[in-house]
Each structure stands twice: as structure tokens, then as C-alpha cells.
């Protein structure tokens, strides 16, 4: 075939970039690129994409993998303790009250991260209760000590509803909800304008404490972990406002020791 008349296809250009081209075609492709600046710039763009990807993610392979990825440990758990651990976990989940969800997931399936489950549940609860006019909460904010004592007892750890007056929010009250890991506390706050924000708070074994943001069409949420509790602050999808409130809540929860018994 006459190289001069042979049009180099995009498939061949990709193969050239990825070193998949047969050796006897390389010369022809290089000659084509020298004569066709449009194709040459395409090839250059693809190469630069590859460099960006390697620069962004290449370093991950040099990180020390977390302990939970230790092969000996995973293999050992599977052989010796897997059944016992699964049975114990299933029993615990049943006692806590998350039995339906647990069995639906299946014992051997890896559950979605706490992060995703907490955020989804928190946003569902937000959307459900924020529109409620007459009964948005079970215990009103005026009965704060009682509210805190009750929810701390049910969640099983001392809780603290942050005071958000400084960012213009008043505690409407709270309620108990089922959550990804069992009993979960749900606090509602209200701005003078009537805008509502909720703080969802349940136990987690997750130790990744990074503050994360998630957004849907109309609502958004911040998620973080402090100690053995996961928190999700939900509100209208205005990131700056939500961030100010999340920051205020985060700071209080982070710097104050939990008040025992409310």
C-alpha cells in the first residue's frame, strides 16, 4: 500500500499514542503527523491528558495501603473468624434495630460506606420533616435538657446539640430516627426567615473525619465524623451559608467535651 495515499485513521492515532501500533506502521503515522498539524495537536492533547492523569493519581500507588487491605489479615479473617464475626455482627445489628437493612444487604456483601448511607438517610429525613408545619419534631427545643437526655440514652452515647444562635438559628427540637447503624438523633434548627436546617447524628465505626460536602438539586449536606459519631448537616443548596453553619456546629462539637446526661 502506498503510504502517501493512505489516510491514517483516528484508531491508528490512538494506537500510536498507546504503543499498540505495529512497528511497521509507526514511520507512516509519524510522517502523517508531520504533514497534518490538526492530527498532531490531537495526539499532543491526548498525551497531555495522560500526563495529567498520571500526575493526579500516580502517587496513590506509592502510598502505604491502609491496614484493612492487609491480605494476610483478610484471608485469616475469612478462614477463622468470618462466620463467627458475621453472626455476631448480624446479632448486634438486629439488637440495634437495623435488622431489615442488614439482611437486605446480605452478610457477605460489603456495605456502602457509612458516609454514603448517613448522607442519604440524613437528606431523606431532612426532606421529609423540613416541610412539616405542625409536628416537625417530637420534643421541642424548649425542653432541651430532656431532649438531650432522651436521645443520648437511645443513641447510646452522650450527645450535644450545638447552639447555633450566633449564626442566627434557633433549635426547633429533635426526634429519634432509625439510621444506618441504629438509633439516630435528628435536630432541627430554624432561621428567622423560616429556613430550616437539620443535624443528623448517629454512631459510626468510620474514623475518616474529613469534612465532606454533597449536593442534590435543592438540598445539600456536610458530613463529618467526631469520635464515634457521624454528623450530617443538611439544608437548602446554598453552599456558603451551609458551610458557615456546619463550621459553627463542627467547632462546638469538636472543642467541647460532651455533656454527660444532657
Amino acid at each position: 500500500m502506498n503510504d502517501r495515499d493512505y489516510r491514517v485513521s483516528d484508531d491508528e492515532l490512538h494506537a500510536y499514542v498507546d504503543d499498540e501500533l505495529p512497528a511497521d506502521r509507526r514511520g507512516a503515522v509519524e510522517a502523517w503527523l508531520a504533514a497534518h498539524p490538526d492530527d498532531a495537536s490531537k495526539v499532543a492533547a491526548w498525551r497531555s491528558q495522560a500526563e495529567l492523569l498520571r500526575a493526579r493519581y500516580g502517587g496513590v500507588a506509592a502510598e502505604k495501603p491502609p491496614e484493612r487491605l492487609d491480605v494476610a489479615r483478610l484471608a485469616c479473617r475469612r478462614r477463622n473468624g468470618w462466620i463467627a464475626a458475621a453472626a455476631a455482627a448480624a446479632l448486634a445489628a438486629f439488637l440495634i434495630g437495623g435488622a431489615a437493612g442488614w439482611f437486605a444487604r446480605g452478610i457477605e456483601a460489603t456495605s456502602p460506606s457509612d458516609l454514603a448511607r448517613f448522607t442519604t438517610d440524613a437528606l431523606d429525613a431532612y426532606r421529609l420533616y423540613v416541610v412539616e408545619v405542625r409536628h416537625p419534631v417530637e420534643v421541642p427545643g424548649e425542653q432541651r435538657p430532656h431532649l438531650m437526655e432522651w436521645l443520648s440514652k437511645r443513641v447510646g452515647t452522650p450527645l450535644r446539640a450545638p447552639e447555633l444562635d450566633k449564626v442566627g438559628l434557633k433549635l426547633v427540637g429533635g426526634r429519634l430516627l432509625p439510621g444506618p447503624t441504629g438509633a439516630t438523633a435528628f435536630f432541627m434548627y430554624e432561621a428567622p426567615s423560616g429556613e430550616r436546617f437539620t443535624l443528623y447524628c448517629g454512631r459510626t465505626s468510620n474514623r475518616d473525619t474529613a469534612l465532606r460536602y454533597t449536593t442534590g438539586e435543592q438540598n445539600a449536606a456536610y458530613y463529618w465524623v467526631d469520635g464515634d459519631l457521624a454528623y450530617v448537616l443538611s439544608g437548602p443548596a446554598e453552599q456558603e451559608k451551609l458551610r458557615t453553619i456546619a463550621q459553627a456546629a463542627y467547632d462546638q462539637i469538636d472543642t467541647h467535651a460532651p455533656q454527660r446526661g444532657g
Partner: protein, 178 residues
């Protein structure tokens, strides 16, 4: 340091890493890299890697030679696809750090490569990452994705075209519906 910890753990449990397990272990750094780029979230990525390892170890008796690495990539790619299907109705999580461009929301943020990846359909993203980041051949990617090589090449071509358009600042055509 790392080696020492692993040895002492193995000694304690009386477990000796088989050749199969050693090959799995050697692939973990690459699996984490692939998963991180595939999910753009470190926690989710390690969840999937862990699930991949558990499944691989469980199937040790089914493995009769062959390329452990390609097999692990296959498991991971499938698990991520299942995850996206089951999560398709959940909100998207974007990790943020103080002062990060992501703080400004999707509209104001920089056009970086991670966001460009977000714009791709899952199978295009996987094909591109397996070739470019993980260095798999077209043939290996075809096996991982269970499609003909021609399909791998068209996925690759579309991924590169869309990333180029995104980085050049064009509006993404039409947001794909999951």
C-alpha cells in the same frame, strides 16, 4: 518497616502467604490507584479494593494460573459498576479541603482532570484509566470489560474527545442520565 509488620503478623497467625496471595498483594498499590481515579473518593476507593480482595481470596481455589492482575482489575471494574447502579439514585459526594477549588461548587471550580473524568460514562472512564493509568493493552482491557477490542477503542476515543472538549472549556454536550 512495612515488611516487618507483615511478617510478624503472618508469623503470629501461622499464615504463610501463598504465591497466589503474594501476587494479589503486589497488585494492591495499582488497584488503589485505579480505584481512586475511578471513584475520585479515597474512602470509596478503598472500600472497593477491600471488596475486590475479599472476593479474590474467596475464589483462590478457582484460580488455575493466568494473569492475577487482569483478573483483579476485572473484579474491581465490575464491583464499581454494580456500586454505581445501586447508588445511582443517591447524591454525589465530593470531598473537600479548606481552600480547595471544590469549595466553590461545581460552577466556579477549575477545569481539572478529575472533573473531566466525572463527565465520562462509566465504561469510557474505566477503559481510559486501564489503558492510560494502568498500562493494560487493548486486548487486556477487552477481557476486563468483556467486549471486543473495537469497543474498547471506541470507548477510548470518546473518552479522549470528551476530556479534550471539557478541558478546552466547552460545555459538556448533554449531561448523561444514569
Amino acid at each position: 518497616m512495612v515488611l516487618f509488620e507483615k511478617k510478624s503478623f503472618a508469623a503470629k497467625t501461622g499464615a504463610r502467604l501463598s504465591d497466589f496471595r503474594q501476587r494479589i498483594e503486589a497488585t494492591i498499590p495499582a488497584l488503589r490507584r485505579y480505584a481512586r481515579a475511578l471513584t475520585r473518593d479515597s474512602e470509596t476507593a478503598d472500600d472497593i479494593v477491600q471488596d475486590t480482595l475479599v472476593r479474590a481470596l474467596r475464589s483462590e481455589h478457582l484460580f488455575h494460573g493466568g494473569d492475577v492482575r487482569a483478573w483483579l482489575y476485572t473484579i474491581l471494574t465490575n464491583l464499581n459498576r454494580n456500586r454505581l447502579r445501586s447508588l445511582s439514585r443517591r447524591p454525589t459526594l465530593t470531598p473537600i479541603k479548606d481552600g480547595d477549588a471544590a469549595m466553590m461548587g461545581p460552577e466556579a471550580g477549575g477545569r481539572d482532570i478529575a472533573r473531566a473524568l466525572d463527565e465520562l460514562a462509566e465504561e469510557q472512564r474505566a477503559a481510559l484509566l486501564l489503558v492510560v493509568l494502568e498500562g493494560l493493552s487493548y486486548r487486556e482491557v477487552a477481557e476486563v470489560q468483556s467486549v471486543p477490542i473495537g469497543t474498547v477503542m471506541s470507548r477510548l476515543a470518546r473518552a479522549r474527545m470528551q476530556i479534550k472538549a471539557y478541558l478546552d472549556g466547552e460545555r459538556p454536550p448533554l449531561r448523561r442520565v444514569k
